[in-house]
């Protein structure tokens, strides 16, 4: 039966090419926008190398200090992470690293701007970078303040052309570093792994940051397994509560959390002082936006479908006469509409892939690598099915309610 519906659906689409074009345009344009948005969200939050263990990784990305009169929002400080957040139960390994800062270099008299990140040695063990050359620096390099660096492929090209960079020296932020490793470019939107140049924290020229409760650092916590995550979150909150504050009259509470990146985004976007993370609300909000965005074109398509049905009253009458129940007819029409939306989704996918490739090439977002991944593809199919049902269910219901005798006479719904 499905095969018959499918054949008919294709023929109906081919019969009225203009209607079909309008319908496909509406579906593919809607899904193009949603797919690009989904691919970008996936590019920011989805698991991908070098964050391949994101299912058991939490991060401390943002914090706030609040008092009776004021609130200060910033990245966590090195002192808090190093002195208060270490040795959380269930954490297999922890890394502390700075927010990337923009630094200038002048190789051969040219100005090269790069993002430099200072990390500890465990950074390379929590994240799973693939090394194109050499390897990471170690915890000893960090403790000793050895001037070594890992750079990405683009930085290697900018400084050293196509030659090997290992053992060579580059100047950044007024310091010299010996290159010990080269890794592939990581997209700008990946908060934890992104940088052009990575150097040990111990090479920092000042030590003031070592006393900051909030500042310019972040941390990742790699749990021994997923079941340890709730315990780590709770222990982190306890550490926040028990952290002594230097001037309680000004600031008396620390807010923040050990979160997944998405949970952290929910904490940042949906609460004033990061006191609570409501990822389910952010998911509902995103889904609500997607549905709202689909609603208008879906209603348009439903309208087009209704006028198409009027042309098919004879067919509906015949099918009813020969044994199609109202439910069967609803099923048939929904299949037809889903076929249309899946064709639209396929077009939307192609357009989305081209748009994402253009965004990646444009350089607007450094090292952007947005792609239509399997997750995004599955999301696209889900959205198309939802769209197809949303725009098909009302016309299908109206069609199924047509009286067989009136339908055979060709009268209206």
């Amino acid at each position: 039966m499905l095969q018959s519906y499918f054949k008919l659906a294709v023929k109906v689409l081919l019969r009225r090419k203009f209607f079909t074009f309008i319908s496909l345009f509406a579906v593919s344009a809607t899904l193009l926008v949603l797919l690009v948005a989904a691919a970008m969200l996936d590019g920011v939050f989805g698991p991908r190398a070098p964050e391949i263990r994101s299912d058991r990784t939490l991060g401390a990305y943002l914090m706030s200090m609040s008092g009776p009169d004021r609130t200060r929002t910033a990245f966590p400080g090195f002192a808090f992470l190093d002195q208060q957040a270490r040795n959380l139960p269930g954490v297999e390994r922890m890394t502390v690293f700075s927010v990337p800062s923009s630094v200038a270099s002048y190789p051969d008299g040219r100005k090269v701007s790069s993002f430099l990140k200072r990390t500890d040695g465990d950074y390379w063990k929590v994240l799973d970078f693939t090394f194109l050359e050499g390897g990471p620096y170690s915890a000893e390099d960090d403790v000793s303040g050895n001037s070594v660096a890992v750079i990405n492929a683009t930085t290697r090209r900018r400084f050293f052309g196509e030659a090997s960079a290992l053992g060579k020296t580059l100047e950044a932020d007024g310091q010299s570093f010996r290159v010990v490793g080269v890794v592939p470019d990581v997209p700008f939107v990946r908060v934890a792994p992104f940088a052009d140049i990575w150097v040990p924290i111990g090479t920092a020229r000042t030590s003031g940051f070592r006393h900051d409760l909030v500042g310019e650092y972040m941390a990742l916590f790699l749990a021994s397994d997923r079941s340890a995550l709730p315990g780590i979150r709770a222990a982190f909150q306890e550490r926040l509560r028990n952290t002594p504050l230097p001037d309680p009259k000004m600031y008396d509470t620390l807010h923040g959390g050990a979160d997944s990146l998405f949970d952290s985004a929910a904490r940042i976007l949906l609460t004033d002082r990061f006191e609570d993370s409501r990822p389910e609300r952010l998911r509902a909000l995103l889904l609500g936006l997607a549905v709202a965005f689909m609603l208008l074109p879906a209603l348009n398509l439903a309208n087009i479908n209704l006028s198409r049905i009027l042309e098919r009253s004879s067919e509906i009458g015949v099918r009813k006469a020969f044994g199609a129940s109202a439910r069967t007819l609803v099923g048939q029409f929904l299949v037809e509409n889903v076929v249309l939306t899946l064709v639209g989704a396929a077009l939307g996918l192609v357009f989305a892939a081209a748009t994402l490739a253009a965004i990646n090439r444009s350089g607007l977002i450094p090292y952007a690598q947005f792609t239509v991944s399997l997750r995004v593809f599955a999301w696209a199919v889900g959205m198309a099915l939802f769209f197809g049902i949303l725009s098909g269910v009302l016309p299908a219901w109206r069609m199924s309610r047509m009286h067989a005798v009136q339908a055979l006479r060709g009268s209206s719904l």
């Binding site: 008919l8 015949v318 009286h403």
Partner: protein, 230 residues
Amino acid sequence: MSSMIYLQDVTKVYRTERIETVALENVNLDIAAGEFVSIMGPSGCGKSTLLNLIGLLDAPSSGTVSIAGHTLDSRLDGRRGRSDSELARLRNQSIGFVFQQFHLIGDLSVVDNVEVPLLYRRLGGRERRLRALAALERVGLQSRAQHYPGQLSGGQQQRAAIARAMVGNPRLLLADEPTGNLDSAMGDEIMGILESLNRDETTIVMVTHDPRMAERTHRTVRMFDGRQVH
């Protein structure tokens, strides 16, 4: 001989907010299995309404309709819930329809059109196709199986419609002016096929304006102003 169709005191009234139109009034009809009955009468006399009630496409306002041993009355409204599925199944299993306008689906090939009633039965695609081709062979249209209705003459389209009506081996075939849109030669051809089906024990009720066609049936029911004349 057992009754295939039994109508008792059947009345059909169409109501709008202002007007009440009596389409059928106290119709009593008993048609035995294997009969070939024609219904005649002037336009608007209720012939098609009667055929729609017999075909379970409409429900009586009052009275009882019994088709192939299944009794329905005015309470059973095809627009509601479970009864819609029941009526659909009954139509699918027991009744075939032939319309004056053929009502073939233009987007489907002839053989796909003939398969339509079988889509609502639990049959595999191959079985459906074999039965549809056999039905087309019976009406002499097997060579046109892959054509589309628009490529056929009126007579051929009606033969395809008859193949569709008989593909599910219904015990009852209802034909609403099957020769009304055809010239006399093609009308005779269609009538020949219907007679052949009747010889194979299919009960046939045919609405017609053509006395020549009515003469070829076992008996004629005459209608006037919604009433059975004799």
